[in-house]
């Protein structure tokens, strides 16, 4: 596994063992590895920066509380993604008519010199957010999180073939949208 900066990091099991010993450094490392991914995932689900931050905060503080009681998840990555998803779904259930905070929302970022991606960022992001929620979720998890379709299917409570179809339908719609923008 690699951190956001591309540096090699300790394996999840080592980090969890460290956290169980009360090592704050191991917790900081684990947070560094997962923070941006979980934040983007939460953002893609709740579509509000503030709520996504609250979800990520609650997930990590919940993990610290569990570890302080001597309990730790067996599959850390699966646990973190499922925790984010469950908390987002809870929030969406509580506020079903949510306004899309598009002005505030940055789901993907382009490097400043990358002209093509800078130009296409907004239409792509708009198209991504316009997809049915399950399709957008699969595209996000597969593209930027490198999750296997099997892991995505477990998260969504569906079959691998359904997850794969959702991805393909999602890509087809994004491609159509880019076609409108002359690409």
């Amino acid at each position: 596994m690699e951190a956001e900066s591309g540096e090699p990091v300790a394996e999840d099991a080592e980090l969890i063992a460290g956290i169980l010993r009360g090592d704050s450094g191991a917790f900081a490392e684990l947070y560094r590895v997962y923070r941006a991914r979980l934040h983007q995932y939460a953002l893609s689900l709740v579509r509000s920066r503030m709520e996504a931050e609250d979800v990520v905060h609650d997930v990590f503080v919940g993990l610290a509380k569990q570890a302080s009681a001597g309990r730790a998840p067996r599959e850390l990555s699966a646990y973190l993604y499922a925790s984010v998803r469950n908390r987002c779904v809870d929030r969406l259930r509580r506020k079903p008519e949510r306004r899309l905070e598009e002005a505030d929302l940055e789901l993907i970022a382009a490097a400043p010199g990358d002209q093509e991606r800078v130009e296409l960022r907004l239409p792509l992001q708009r198209a991504l957010l316009a997809l049915p929620a399950e399709q957008a979720e699969v595209v996000v998890l597969r593209t930027w999180h490198d999750l296997e379709f099997a892991a995505i299917a477990v998260l969504q409570g569906t079959s691998v073939s359904t997850a794969l179809s959702r991805y393909q339908y999602g890509l087809a719609k994004l491609r159509k949208e880019l076609g409108v923008h002359g690409r």
Partner: protein, 78 residues
Amino acid sequence: MDDDRLERLLKGYRLPEVSRALDRRVMAESHAILVRARGREIVEDVGHSLLHRLGFGYLAWLVDLVTATDAEYDVVVI
């Protein structure tokens, strides 16, 4: 644009920045939780070894038995 090119284009985007305020919030709260737990553990260890030294090892054993054993109970619907 074919699927491969679209996938490459998408993968070239980066994840959005996470706010420093969130980092500070998570790290401060988690650190406090872990430090409290570590403190509790040290106090428990000291208590245990003290009981052993004073010849009350059975008390430490009893405390462990009570705190580490899952309670078993049934709900009886009347």
